[in-house]
Symmetry: C2
Subunit: 452 residues, 2 copies
């Protein structure tokens, strides 16, 4: 980063100095060292300290800075942390925030506190905005939008529009576009601040506005909002209700959070981590996130043992059969994960031109046959090096079957999960891998049994 912003040493040394200053109630030191520092940096620091200490720091600073710091805290830190504040204090801070951020924070509070906080909000417009936004589900456009925006009537002229911008200058920190509506507040289009700046005072909005505007409806799922904003390179998108009335706007920074959260969720599902867990969480939290999946895997392993035991006779007749169990399992697992990831990816980039299910499956079979042929041939050569020739045949045929089966499972599972509304990334996770392991071993031993 450049030198232009005040260089803030987010160091462990400063953290210690800060803790000492808090203990000694050295307000001057705190105020001085934090002046001009970006609130996001202060949040990162306060995420590390004791809640009482963090409250002490926030109390010292300006209300506006404090609000920004609270906004930027990590969600779990923040929730615990706000427990130390009175409803009145929380109300004062969220009044300083954009309405979307305010609602996110209120929604995380316990229901009783929520009501208390709302009743303490003194500005009637803020209270109305918050109550309106709380009606929407958090995962849809209505739950992401904020009310702060500049709206101009299509019949206004430039002077009237500038007057409106002046009136709202404190509420609307950053103006993306001015939205143009009719008398019933139905969205008609937008006009850029640049065009307002360059127009004459008595130019009418209706003569310069752009009616080519992409809007989303309140109920649209957040991931679809993300897809639209990404596809059309939008910084901000207006939100309309079913009657086409403008009710809010969504900015790209919230969408960036949606995208990164989604990527993290996918990664965790693929790895068998059941809740939003991080390396620096407590040992207990990590165990809680990891053990369920490991136990599923373990039970799968025990079922696998049963299956092998069922073929005990074959195993005794055919020395060497056991040798290739790992090879069969590993290949099935790898093929299954590859297939499901390809499907998950194409589900994420939905297009009307996606192949039909039949075409998909035919292609899957073609790829699986080629793969099985290559892997089967290689393994046949190797197996012959240190086992009987007919074992090579068994392994090669079993590989072909396992590759086909794992490809099928890997292709169909995410499609089914997606249909029933579950994140398809789960199909690349340990549950399916475990199922594939058991299937793979069964097929292998069954083929051996039939061929001997």
């Amino acid at each position: 980063m450049s030198e232009i912003v005040k260089e803030f040493e987010l160091s462990k040394e400063y953290l210690q100095a800060l803790e000492t200053a808090i203990e000694e109630k050295n307000d001057a030191f705190i105020r001085e060292t934090m002046e001009g520092v970006n609130p996001a940096d202060i949040s990162a620091l306060l995420d590390e300290v004791d809640h009482d200490f963090a409250k002490y720091v926030i109390d010292i600073l300006d209300n506006e800075v404090g609000a920004e710091i609270i906004e930027d805290l990590e969600e779990d830190t923040r929730t615990k942390f706000l427990g130390n504040f009175s409803p009145k204090e929380v109300a004062d801070y969220i009044t300083e925030m954009d309405s979307d951020d305010a609602v996110d924070i209120i929604n995380d509070l316990p229901p009783k506190t929520r009501e208390e906080v709302i009743s303490e909000i003194t500005d009637p417009e803020t209270a109305a905005h918050i109550q309106e936004l709380m009606r929407y589900d958090e995962d849809c456009a209505g739950g992401l939008m904020a009310k702060e925006m500049i709206v101009a009537n299509v019949n206004w002229n430039i002077v009237q529009t500038i007057e409106e911008i002046r009136r709202q200058r404190e509420n609307v920190e950053k103006i993306y576009s001015v939205y143009v509506v009719d008398d019933k507040r139905r969205l008609l289009g937008k006009v850029s601040v640049k065009d307002i700046l360059l127009a004459n005072d008595n130019t009418l909005i209706k003569d310069i506005f752009d009616d080519d505007v992409i809007a989303v409806e309140t109920y649209l799922d957040e991931e679809e909002v993300a897809t639209i904003m990404q596809k059309y390179d939008l910084d901000v998108v207006p939100v309309v209700n079913l009657q086409g009335k403008l009710v809010g706007r969504i900015t790209i920074d919230d969408i960036v959070d949606v995208i990164t959260d989604q990527a993290e969720e996918d990664r965790q599902l693929m790895s068998g981590l059941s809740s939003d867990v991080e390396e620096d969480d407590s040992i207990w939290a990590i165990l809680k996130a990891r053990l369920p999946w490991l136990i599923i895997g373990l039970i799968g392993g025990i079922v696998g043992a049963f299956v092998i035991k069922g073929f005990e006779e074959d195993m005794e007749n055919m020395v060497g059969l056991a040798l290739f169990i790992p090879l069969i399992m590993a290949t099935g697992g790898n093929v299954g994960i590859q297939s499901s990831t390809l499907v998950v990816q194409s589900l994420a980039n939905k297009s009307v031109f996606t192949d039909t299910l039949v075409k998909r499956l035919l292609k899957m079979v073609a790829v699986a046959m080629c793969t099985g042929l290559v892997l089967g041939s290689i393994s046949f050569l190797f197996v012959n090096l240190y086992a009987e020739a007919y074992l090579g045949v068994v392994v090669a045929i079993a590989l072909q079957a396992v590759v086909l089966l794992a490809s099928f499972m890997g292709t169909v599972t995410p499609l089914v999960l997606d249909k029933i509304g579950i994140n398809p990334a789960l199909a690349s996770g340990p549950f399916i891998t475990t199922a594939n392991d058991i299937l793979g071993i069964t097929v292998y031993l069954l083929i051996a049994n039939l061929l001997i």
Copy 2:
């Protein structure tokens, strides 16, 4: 999406109608049906048709619209597609684009064509911008930035600044902020268009600009740029060179692409897909991306067979030893992937307060010991159901050892990969899983050998 934009039926039916229109050279139909349609939608359509057909459509449309369509095409479609254009045509289209997009496209051309295209650019400013930007590596701030922005001298007044905006109104489509520089073009701060709009004509920039601006330097890695923009909720960030001079700006839409590409790369590495492959690629492309990893897994399986063969005597002495090979392998694999994903995640959210390596490893050991204890106990109970008691002891101890080993590998591998500049997500992929499988089997059989 709302009804406000022209509803464009991106349907298979329209695709067919379009192909017929192209064959019949029915320009009127093409022009009429595409008027007012967002170029991004036309790109999605042209991604599906033959290159010659796509060129035909683009030739019919306005140069400006054509440029936007070309920008939005998928990278591989675009590269093949531009092969049909003369250098002069390419030059005309990229002159319409923002300089960052123009450079991305030029960089994808073969070196000879690249020179020809540049020599055909008629506007000297555009040519200079492109040549300057081509100097930067694609993955750093310099490679992401564009030159189109409004820059005001700190000594100007509002009238002069508006004059500059007017002069650039065609070049700079969207004004994020006006950047403020000194006589040597060193970045001093920024001023919002809102503030310019609300100020008096003779107000001086130096009296209203905000000197609290976050900038990045040209050499900063794109992922670090993404982290900074995300942390500070920036829509745009100015780029300065080593002398602090303002050289460009990066907008959030490019960063959104960086973030999604990164997530996709991680997912592919975790699944053993070696190149940027999609479900609708050709069978050959899919095989090329999948087979290398499957063959690595296969070789791992063959090595595993060697290992088991080495313990053949034990296997014969201890009936039932083979039964639990799948259980050991699956658990080792699952534990390893969980551990590495946790580390990859915390590497992605780097913080100065991250635990030290020693603390990390101690925690890892603690979690692994608890995990091993739980899994060992469960397996001990089950194994006793259908095998000799001492086998239960062997499995339980081996599980404990394998969990510890897999946790260690899963924790250390991504850290090492990250240190040597390789994407740590690779550590959750098949290569490491294969290594873990072999290790797991070896440990299991070794423990059995020692305990019998």
